[in-house]
């Protein structure tokens, strides 16, 4: 995990968010002002880690910390999957970009491209996954999950 003071302050998380992640103490190291969190390197999240992550996001939003709504960049697929399960997450953070499981119906390749959530905000709000080209055969890949399950976090 690295923290760059900013502004905006940038937190980069890598590896596992699990029982031993201990995200809470990061907040004390942050200067006031907006926060951007990059989780592209997160490889695993379990239920205890998810609880820690949600409490961390909640604490960032507390007025006393003066960070406002956190912005997430390059959200890891494992985090997207689990955050979409939690009703309380919707509307409480800003996602600038995220990784999503895509599959190519032509050659069968599975990939995890980064989706620009700002450029595709209108589509995502309608639960439409933006197209992504297959790195192998260049055909259009499609989201490998139900949009209403994987993209519900973008629902207004």
């Amino acid at each position: 995990m690295t923290v760059v003071a900013g502004p905006p302050a940038r937190i980069t998380l890598v590896g596992r968010i699990d029982d031993s992640a201990g995200l809470g103490p990061i907040i004390a190291t942050l200067p006031p002002g907006p926060v951007v969190i990059d989780t592209a390197g997160v490889t695993f999240v379990n239920s205890i880690g998810m609880r820690d992550w949600i409490r961390f996001l909640r604490a960032l939003r507390e007025p006393t910390h003066d960070h406002g709504i956190p912005t997430l960049e390059n959200v890891a697929d494992v985090l997207m999957t689990q955050m979409n399960l939690l009703a309380e997450v919707r509307g409480t953070l800003r996602i600038a970009s995220f990784h999503a499981q895509y599959v190519c119906n032509t050659c069968g390749r599975e990939d995890i491209p980064v989706i620009d959530a700002i450029a595709h905000a209108a589509q995502l709000a309608d639960l439409i996954a933006p197209p992504s080209p297959c790195p192998e055969c260049r055909s259009a890949m499609e989201l490998a999950d139900f949009p209403e399950r994987y993209l519900s976090i973008f629902r207004p």
């Binding site: 699990d18 029982d19 031993s20 695993f44 999240v45 379990n46 239920s47 205890i48 998810m50 609880r51 992550w53 949600i54 409490r55 697929d77 494992v78 999957t81 689990q82 399960l85 939690l86 009703a87 309380e88 499981q101 599959v103 599975e110 989201l143 490998a144 999950d145 139900f146 209403e148 399950r149």
Partner: protein, 311 residues
């Protein structure tokens, strides 16, 4: 030549559609038990007794959601029409109503899942992932000797799964499922003489040698149709009747502060099976269908609970 004796269980198929009736009758008829077919709830109620295994259309089941409380050996809700998965909202409503057998997926998964479920009930033989994978599939197992071996077991399992050619996506799901099921076996399952879950507040990263009665076994197998992950503990304290409502996505996880382990494992798989021998063994089997794209399957996972005798 005398035919081999068959079981005395009675199967009742309740479905309003004649074509679906025929398909389901043929399917559960493979058990060689007598199968009665009915089209509505009145006829169903007249047919059911404590020995009956009922296979019922999901919509018909929901029209009287407490139906499953009537005496029967088991009530199994199935998708309404053969080629369509059960709607996710319907699965949720059945879970909330306390249904213990919900088949969410269409044919051909419906056939495989329903036959395995019915035979487990008829034979009173609940335990073991072998019932879900083809005979030739090799089963690999890990026995945890210490609570700290959870991470090692999960990592080994994920590595093994990917090494047989399954995609990283499946390896990632397997990691989450195995981690949650093992954590449940290590920290939620143990109860003391007063029924208190005395390990629940224990630090999850602390070493703790596991005595024989605290042993946790993880097994997995794949036959290129399913990947099955099985986690067993020797406590048998999971209460199946209380689990289903916690898995429903509508009830789910309004907040991350609620217990998320089993709902998360359920959300990551396509079929979630809980086998319990009270005070002796709990076995949770999570099945991932690796044949189809996730969007070709039911949006919600199937769910089954069985209460039986430990092997």
């Amino acid at each position: 030549m005398q035919p081999q004796a068959t079981s005395r269980e009675k199967l009742v198929v309740a479905h309003p559609d004649r074509k679906a009736q025929r398909a389901l009758q043929r399917l559960v008829g493979a058990t060689l038990c007598p199968v009665e077919v009915v089209a509505d709830l009145d006829a169903l109620k007249r047919s059911v007794d404590a020995t009956t295994i009922v296979v019922i259309d999901g919509a018909l089941a929901l029209s009287q959601a407490a139906l499953h409380e009537l005496p029967a050996q088991a009530w199994i809700a199935v998708p309404g029409e053969g080629s369509q998965a059960m709607d996710g909202g319907m699965v949720d409503q059945l879970l909330v109503a306390g249904w213990q057998h919900i088949v969410a997926h269409p044919m051909p998964i419906l056939a495989e899942e329903l036959l395995a479920t019915v035979q487990k009930l008829i034979r009173a033989d609940a335990f073991g992932l072998e019932k879900y994978v083809a005979w030739g599939a090799e089963v690999r197992s890990y026995v945890l000797a210490d609570a700290r071996e959870r991470d090692t077991a999960v990592a080994a399992l994920a590595r093994d799964v990917v090494s047989v050619g399954l995609p990283e996506r499946v390896g990632s799901l397997v990691s989450v499922i195995a981690d949650e099921l093992i954590a449940n076996a290590l920290y939620a399952a143990p109860v003391d003489a007063k029924g208190a879950r005395f390990r629940s507040a224990e630090p999850r990263d602390a070493a703790r040698p596991l005595a024989a009665h605290e042993g946790v076994t993880v097994r997995w197998a794949t036959d290129a149709r399913y990947l099955a992950i099985e986690v067993r503990d020797r406590w048998g304290t999971l209460a199946p009747a209380t689990i289903s409502g916690r898995l429903a996505s509508s009830a789910k996880l309004a907040t991350a502060d609620a217990g998320m382990g089993l709902p998360l494992a359920y959300a990551c798989c396509n079929q979630f099976v809980i086998n319990v021998a009270p005070r002796a063994m709990t076995e949770v089997i999570a099945l991932l269908d690796v044949r189809y794209k996730p969007t070709e399957l039911g949006r919600s996972a199937s769910f089954h609970t069985f209460v039986g005798t430990a092997p």
